[in-house]
Amino acid sequence: MEFKLSKEQEMMQKMAKEFADKEIAPLSQEIDKTHKFPIELARKMGTLGLMGMMVEPAMGGAGCDTVCYTIAIEELARASAAVAIIASVNNSLVCYPLQKNATEDQKKSYLPDLASGKKLGSFGLTEPGAGTDAGSQATVAVKKDNEYILNGTKIFITNATNADTFIIFAMTDKAKGPKGISAFIVEKTFPGFSIGTVEELMGIRGSGQAELVMDNCRVPAGNLLGAEGAGFGIAMATLDSGRIGVAAQAVGIAQAALEECQRYAMEREQFGKPIGKFQAIQWMVADMATEIEAARLLVRKAAYAKDTQKRFSAEAAMAKLYASEMCMRVTVKAVQIHGGYGYTKDYLVERLIRDAKITEIYEGTSEVQRMVISGGLLK
């Protein structure tokens, strides 16, 4: 068993770190302040191949492994959680289900643009009445001639404000319950499709979260993704993949918080010496670093499991559960270490704690992760 990064993982980390430090970090506070979607950064990431890392080369991706992917997301998140989730959604929640379930024609139509960043993707599952209870979809899709007519709303959809391609879930057969859900590839230009309320968020500000409104939205039958009724399965498998990205994002946010504390604790002097010389602070930093490392290993193991095993739900759930709760603990400690200064917008940790919270909620709450993990253990 090797814990060393391969050459390509090392090079990927170097490139992502340099891009994050030079291109993203200088803009991260501004993005958070203005809540403006960083579309130029998304295009830049696309040019470098960061928006479709695991897509097969024939479809314009790099075909890299999931470990490589999580390394990149962690580095992006270190600079900006919002930018990281923009990339993660595009990679894990859009390219991945297309890669796994789309027909050759569908792949050819959508993957190259999504992989190159020419077009942006979004994943529309959550509804006002269907969050953790994702199976209770209210959005319906009715087949009519050569089209499906979709009606319903989706909320809290990341990338929505700037996305071109949406994976939308809707009920094609209500009687079958979750087994009656189907997945569709919806383009923003389809008649009857519009973006509704844009959310004003606590954190990951600038990630373009908004409401999707389908009002007799006409989707060509050829845009059904997978078979009718396969939607729920596609959604769950996709979320398994997505939560590895979120776990990596959480590790990145926590890593940024740790680095801020390392700097601050040696600069801030009280009682005649840097606060980093006091045991209380030293122990906090030690705990933070240990937890981050533990989470990082869980993330990489989950990534490895995805690449080598048929089922990886448990590993993905564990990584997401631990990393997100760890991230919250670490960022809270980070603000504490910064004292009053950490409570001001001058200091990054004020934003990091706000960014951290969502990792415990989206792509499956911590409660859902616990359901998944225990479900596999207590049969």
Partner: protein, 263 residues
Amino acid sequence: MDIICLMKQVPDTTDVKIDPKTGTLIREGVPSIINPEDKNAIEAALVLKEKHGGKIVCISMGPPQAEDALREAYAMGVDECVLLCDRAFAGADTLATSYALAMAIKAVGKYDIIISGRQAIDGDTAQIGPQIAEWLKMPQITYARTLEVKDNKAHVERLLEDGFEVVEAPLPCLVTCVKEMNKPRYPTVSRILKACKELKIPFWNAQQINAEKSRIGLDGSATGVKRTFAPEPKGLGKMLTGKTEDVVKQLVKHLENDNIINR
């Protein structure tokens, strides 16, 4: 167009610190990078290739670990890489290094233009480019801040202290770039994978480039380091006292002695 790029792997000297106790360089944890101005050179080569078509060969001289820097150059977009690696090259000053690189360029054979960074951030000499150009008996243009090729000539804006001059030289010629020239692109994900999975980097030794033993390594060097030492640490926390006119004079003297301000 056949382009040759020269590149050096260097420690990131912006991160380097001196151990206050021993006065020596702390190299631990200092990452190795592609010399920044060589990255500008690679970017310039990529721009030329995009415009004129052709091939870029990137040559570097260094220990085996310099292979990583060449892989990064490949991931940026160069087509082939060569590492000059041989114990016999060790301890070379710029005269011996430039000779070895020139012989390697001759061994590659085909070239219309040779591009390198102006200087490396560890040696800081800026001598390699001109010395290679002399050995290969070709025109050199240093301090290039723009580079174009028109009618088989290199067309360059050459930076001067108080402005710039527009110069041209027939190909083949050698150009050294300054950082003002461009913003080097990042390696892409797919080329990173190719660099690790497909790219084979040949290691060339002195024999393979027909280098005369007496001209390489320590033997081929005309300069030698007598000693290295840490620069005088500035007076940390030195409070200057006295009348204002005297105090400012003292400060000016200190700043001049520290080489912070000069004529």
